[in-house]
């Protein structure tokens, strides 16, 4: 399987990245090289092998429903690049 510049452009859109033409060419070559290397996994028989998503035997737990303090408005907005009236400000979503 070979990755084309068009594939790289599509993945960049999914990843919310703008790439320069030079970056597109470079990533096309490098991703091909890395994925070609990763192809070695396809030769391994994993029939019946369970996937490991996590090494610990964890299960979901629920904490007690107890009221506690949350972040203050000032703290939550401390690192916001732009804010207005106590909210994160973003460009208009609707035209």
């Amino acid at each position: 399987m070979s990755i084309t510049v068009k594939d790289v452009q599509h993945v960049a859109r999914l990843a919310r990245l703008h790439l320069s033409p030079e970056e597109e060419a470079m990533f096309t070559e490098q991703m091909n090289s890395i994925l070609q290397y990763a192809e070695k996994l396809s030769g391994l028989d994993t029939e019946g092998v369970q996937p490991t998503t996590h090494v610990l035997h964890v299960s979901n737990v629920m904490r007690e429903d107890v009221v506690k303090e949350s972040l203050s408005l000032e703290e939550a907005l401390l690192n916001a690049p732009e804010e207005e009236d106590g909210q994160f400000k973003v460009p208009a979503v609707l035209e």
Binding site: L17, L41, P51, P81
Partner: protein
């Protein structure tokens, strides 16, 4: 005489008997940084005023006779992907250049509770992605043993700061070898604990199922001290393990008679430098003289580890880094377009090349049509790699081999070829995939550069790993040798 020649336990006693004060220790650290960090570049942010104030408070505490924490008065550096309240945390990324955390990571809080002094934040590969520390947006760290060489990555700043005698210990994080490989290149002790032993709350996530925080120190005993202070269950981390924490210091008996060591043939084979192989074989001879027995074994799926790791880690990274969108924190590049343009522009401007490369690879591996072939397949191979270790640990107490196939390489020599760079981690990655503990300790030199010995243990058996490392250390003096800066 420099205070950096003493172990943490010795300094603890010296503080208690008033031979030295916390302020003096802190000044020793700050003046060492002023002297050498221009060359080494291990620090991204210095906490000079905060450290001095904390030292004064601790000196008052000492004078008052109040009880003292385990790391009382010890000046420490913290890798810059661990958030520290009010102290800039950048992950060595332009994206977080001005990020001021509003809370402490659990490990940072634990250091504070243990009465350590935070000297500053340490340089690293951007978002912990890299094996050479050349991916920092603020410039590479240099290896204190040879300033033309890399310190290893991604905790290169943490390893170099300890090796250069700038701090008495440091914290790093290890996703595919990022504590052990720089420890090996810089000639210090680097411990990656069992996944879940140390809380990841407040560690900026790279690959959540692999990341683990651990100490970088000058001796194994120091490593046990720091681990004792930071290990333990944390309700704020859903992946934290509920296990009893043993007394790691009491495990350092020096006795390894009858210990069974497995040496994987894959760890000493092709790709491992002859000088590294010889150094590791000499180390095994020392362990043999101490009463241990070793045999060659096979971990047959080792050759698949790097491919497995890069598919899984990149996939998790692409997901974790989706939160960097220019809205709530970090860089915002608004060129007048819509919200989607804001995301694209902020991310494209904020992330460096290696981070973009891994986001791209991960997004591709998780995308429709490729998920089964890449991501799911890698998860299944991960199971096989873990089973290899389970099988070996039925008969052996530890697995031993080199930490890295070579010594530190020259700056810039591998930056054009990411695959070659990724293969440097071939001996450390299997440990992260299996979630088990491992330490790298100095075991000699090849052409003047440190070589690391990797000791791998069963899950939550840090005590045995540290016991073997300590026994070896007591019979050699490699850990006492320091770079000339």
């Amino acid at each position: 005489m420099s205070l950096f020649q003493y172990r943490l336990s010795e300094l603890h006693n010296m503080l208690h008997s008033a031979q030295v004060s916390v302020s003096e220790l802190t000044e020793e650290s700050l003046s060492a940084i002023a002297r050498v960090d221009g060359d080494v570049h291990a620090f991204l942010t210095l906490n000079e005023e905060g450290a001095r104030a904390a030292a004064r408070e601790l000196d008052d505490k000492l004078a008052s006779g109040a009880s003292r924490g385990l790391l009382f008065g010890m000046p420490a550096g913290i890798k810059d992907n661990i958030v520290t309240k009010g102290l800039r945390t950048t992950c060595a990324s332009r994206f977080l250049d001005n990020y001021q955390p509003i809370y402490d990571a659990t490990v940072a809080a634990k250091l504070r509770q243990a009465d350590a002094v935070t000297i500053g934040k340490l340089n690293m590969d951007e978002f912990a992605m890299g094996g050479s520390n050349e991916n920092s947006a603020y410039g590479a760290v240099r290896n204190p043993w040879d300033l033309e060489r890399v310190p290893g990555g991604s905790s290169g700043g943490s390893a170099a700061a300890v090796a250069a005698g700038e701090v008495f210990f440091a914290l790093g994080s290890d996703t595919g070898g990022s504590i052990r490989q720089p420890a090996s290149y810089c000639g210090v002790v680097g411990l990656k604990p069992t996944y879940g032993l140390v809380s990841r709350y407040g560690l900026v996530a790279f690959a959540s199922s692999l990341d683990q925080i651990g100490p970088l120190t000058r001796t194994v005993e120091d490593s046990a001290y720091v681990l004792q202070a930071i290990a333990g269950y944390d309700a704020q981390d859903s992946t934290s393990a509920k296990v009893d924490i043993p007394d790691y210091l009491s495990a350092l008996t020096g006795d390894i008679k009858g210990l069974r060591i497995a040496v994987p043939k894959e760890y000493l084979g092709e790709g491992v430098d002859a000088s590294v192989r010889e150094t590791v074989l000499s180390a095994l001879k020392v362990l043999e003289e101490l009463g241990a027995v070793w045999e060659e074994v096979s971990l047959p799926h080792t050759e698949y580890a790097v491919a497995t790791y890069y598919l899984l880690a990149s996939s998790e990274a692409s997901s974790n880094l989706a939160r960097f969108d220019g809205v709530r924190y970090g860089v915002r590049v608004d060129e007048g377009g819509n919200l989607l343009d804001l995301y694209h522009n902020s991310r494209s401007h904020g992330f460096g090349l290696e981070v973009k490369r891994r986001i791209m690879l991960g997004t591709y591996a998780l995308s429709s049509g490729y998920y089964d072939a890449y991501y799911l397949k890698a998860q299944k191979v991960r199971t096989l790699i873990k089973q290899d270790f389970d099988e070996v640990f039925k008969k052996y107490d530890v697995v031993i081999g080199p930490t890295a196939p070579t010594t530190a390489f020259k700056l810039g020599s591998q930056t054009e070829d990411p695959l070659t760079m990724y293969l440097n981690d071939i001996l450390t990655i299997p440990v992260n995939l299996a979630g088990i503990p491992a330490v790298s300790i100095p075991c000699g030199f090849a052409e003047g550069l440190p070589v690391g010995l990797q000791i791998i243990g069963k899950e939550f058996d840090e005590s045995t790993v540290l016991r073997v490392a300590h026994a070896y250390e007591q019979h050699t003096d490699y850990h006492k040798q320091r770079p000339q800066l």
